[in-house]
């Protein structure tokens, strides 16, 4: 169901009532305007009747009409209408004129009437004349051609005028409704255009008084959401920090215990194995705490660019490889880099997290003896980072899901958290970078490539470095 619209509602109310009111007024107006015209025509009829009545004479107990043909012709003369008359004696004989012409039944004084004569509508007057032997009646009538024409002309001119009034009224209503609602629409598009993490208060200046409470309410809501988010972020950060110190203690103690157990020559499968497992669990918990912390920290508004610096990707790649090289050596993997010089503007720890998670995943998923190559370089105005491994590869059906938090592919080895790629994705989105999963250039294996758009790379055309 469509939600109710203020504009439709306003227009539904305003438009029909305007048309009705204007219509009623124009009918009233028409009648008022046509009345004097009709009265003038009627007066002309009355004059004719009066002139005829002046020709009546009383004569020896009867009534006679002194009317010659010339006068009759004059009487009947009209440019447009045909004029009829009939003079009736008190004894109800027709003294002169058109015999079929009939007046109204009751005649009190001069009485106007409408009738049909010879198949045409006529307007007439019945004029009673007192004679010594009784009342004679003079009937004068005319066809209604000029009256009809006057009425038609009147209607036509009124109609044009009234339609114009209605048209302009509708126009005014339309535009004023639009104008009144514009601040609301502007507010809506302003809110809509925001990124979900943008919680800056909306500007109040220039908004009408009626919209201010809405803006005020929205701003207070933004404020509350913002402080809730800040609180959550602070809580997660504090929690992760609080976890780190005891984890550092645990990590160190376990390491020492493992070393002591092996120096005591504890038998395989016994204490030494258990300690080794505790050590693994400790590093897993550590990694999870770090990843949760990273996720909570990378949950920043995209416009918050404080802390961004121009960073040489090749240096970060070399550093990240150096940091993880021991883990790769432990797994007899050949971890290396192929870098081309390119620099982008970013926050250093975020890029380090992207690299560390991609390399960590590759080490985890690539079997012993495999090869992992980290690359970076310019890419169509932007820049890219990619990690290629010789692992089993990610089936095409899994490639979308691996970005979900905590999702782990059915074939994933134990020990992962399912957070690595979602961290990569989340940080990439801060830079509007694309993350794509592809097949390795040869054999099985996966390439995960992060492509940063041109905007993130600020020109740094240096030659290809061969390190």
């Amino acid at each position: 169901m469509k939600p109710p619209s203020i504009r439709t509602r306003l227009q539904l109310w305003l438009l029909p009532s305007l048309v009705l009111i204007l219509g009623a007024f124009s009918v009233f107006d028409f009648h008022r305007a046509i009345e004097p015209v009709e009265a003038a025509y009627d007066a002309a009829l009355a004059n004719t009747a009066f002139a005829v009545s002046a020709r009546l004479r009383a004569e020896k107990g009867t009534v006679a009409l002194d009317l010659d043909d010339q006068t009759v012709a004059l009487l009947r003369t009209d440019l447009i209408d045909r004029i009829f008359f009939r003079v009736i004696s008190p004894s109800n004989e027709t003294l002169a004129g058109d015999i079929g012409l009939k007046g109204p039944e009751n005649i009190v004084g001069a009485t106007f009437f409408d009738a049909v004569f010879q198949g045409k509508p006529v307007r007439g007057i019945a004029y009673p004349v007192a004679t010594p032997i009784g009342i004679s009646i003079v009937l004068v009538a005319e066809t209604t051609v000029k009256r009809d024409k006057a009425r038609r002309d009147m209607v036509a001119s009124r109609l044009v005028q009234d339609l114009a009034v209605v048209f302009f009224a509708v126009l005014v209503v339309w535009f004023s409704v639009r104008g009144v609602l514009r601040p609301l629409e502007q507010l809506a598009s302003q809110v809509q255009a925001r990124s979900p993490s943008d919680l800056k208060p909306l500007p109040e200046n220039g908004s009408p008084i009626e919209v201010l409470p809405l803006i005020d309410a929205l701003n207070r809501l933004f404020g509350r959401i913002g402080s809730t988010q800040d609180g959550q972020r602070r809580f997660i950060e504090n929690a992760a920090h609080q976890l780190r110190t005891p984890l550092a203690g645990l990590q160190g103690q376990v390491e020492l215990a493992v070393r002591e157990a092996s120096s005591l020559g504890a038998p395989a499968g016994g204490l030494a194995d258990r300690l080794a497992r505790i050590e693994q669990a400790t590093s897993r918990v550590t990694r999870l705490a770090n990843q949760l912390l990273t996720l909570s920290r990378s949950d920043r508004p995209t416009h918050d660019t404080a802390g961004e610096r121009q960073l040489e990707l090749a240096e970060l790649v070399a550093d990240s490889v150096a940091i993880q090289i021991d883990r790769a050596i432990d797994r007899e993997q050949d971890l290396g880099a192929e870098t081309q010089a390119v620099s982008i503007r970013a926050i250093e720890w975020e890029l380090r997290e992207v690299l560390s998670n991609l390399i960590d995943n590759a080490i985890r998923y690539t079997p012993r003896g495999g090869q992992i190559t980290v690359r970076c370089g310019p890419d169509e105005g932007g820049a890219f980072i990619e990690v290629e491994d010789s692992g089993p590869g990610i089936p095409a059906t899994e490639r979308d899901r691996v970005f979900e938090r905590f999702y782990r592919a059915p074939t994933a080895p134990a020990g992962g958290s399912g957070l690595g790629l979602s961290i990569v994705q989340e940080i990439a989105s801060l830079y509007e970078a694309r993350v794509e999963i592809g097949d390795a250039s040869r054999g099985t294996g996966t390439v995960v490539r992060v492509t940063f758009p041109e905007a993130v790379r600020r020109a740094c055309p240096s030659p290809v470095a061969d390190t």
């Binding site: 103690q253 390491e255 090289i325 880099a337 190559t373 390190t467």
Partner: protein, 226 residues
């Protein structure tokens, strides 16, 4: 070699003490910056491991004060420990004169390796002898000894070897090695480094160390595990 650990958390401190003592260092521990002041007044340390989250005076404040003191202790290398891995902390710490930085939780093995590297680098500028595994480098005589005896090196090989030993257990880029020998010849390309590395590998056979290639990144001098 003597190390002062400034850490308030007993569990972490105990692990640090155990690990560093096992690695052959003499270790003292204090739990606050105030007590660290007392300790460095009377004793000499080759390295200080400083936790940033100390109660009372914060680690960063203490470090800032240390670097402005007049005694020789102000030049003692400092390795910072922190539970925060924000770039701000790191920049602050390094600006205030920390020599290295490690985030909790850490692997003891790495902390020990970094401690050794720090002591080696600052120590080399003071004394003139550097040791990695069984390999001893005497900078004043420009001599490199293994257990089997003197290893003869050309001047360029010496420059590379010196750089690798001062940065043992860390990955060193080809560019850095090129800079180390650039005084000799400006026309050397990265391929020259490969040549020298392969010669050094030959000469170091059986000396208890190895030069590992990290593909596309550089080289790392390591002690071979016995």
């Amino acid at each position: 070699m003597r190390i002062l650990v400034i850490e308030d958390d007993p569990l972490v401190a105990d692990a640090l003490l155990g690990g560093l003592r096992d690695a052959g260092f003499a270790v003292d521990r204090v739990e606050s910056a105030e007590k660290a002041d007392l300790a460095i007044r009377s004793e000499h340390f080759d390295l200080m491991v400083l936790d940033l989250g100390l109660p009372g005076i914060s680690g960063l404040d203490w470090l800032r004060r240390l670097r402005t003191r007049s005694g020789p202790e102000r030049r003692t290398p400092v390795l910072i420990l922190t539970a925060r891995d924000g770039i701000d902390d790191r920049v602050d710490g390094l600006n205030l004169g920390a020599d290295d930085y490690i985030v909790k939780p850490f692997v003891l093995r790495e902390l020990i390796a970094r401690s050794r590297a720090l002591i080696r680098r600052t120590g080399a500028s003071v004394s003139s002898s550097t040791q990695v595994g069984e390999l001893v480098m005497d900078a004043s005589r420009r001599e490199l000894h293994s257990r089997a005896g003197l290893i003869e090196l050309t001047p360029r090989e010496w420059s590379i070897m010196e750089y690798l030993m001062l940065h043992a257990n860390t990955v060193v880029s080809k560019d850095k090695l090129l800079q180390a020998i650039s005084g000799w010849d400006d026309n050397l390309g990265p391929n020259a480094i490969e040549v020298y590395i392969s010669r050094l590998r030959g000469k170091l056979e059986g000396a208890g160390v190895l030069i590992r290639t990290v593909r596309g990144v550089g080289y790392r001098l390591e002690e071979t595990v016995a």
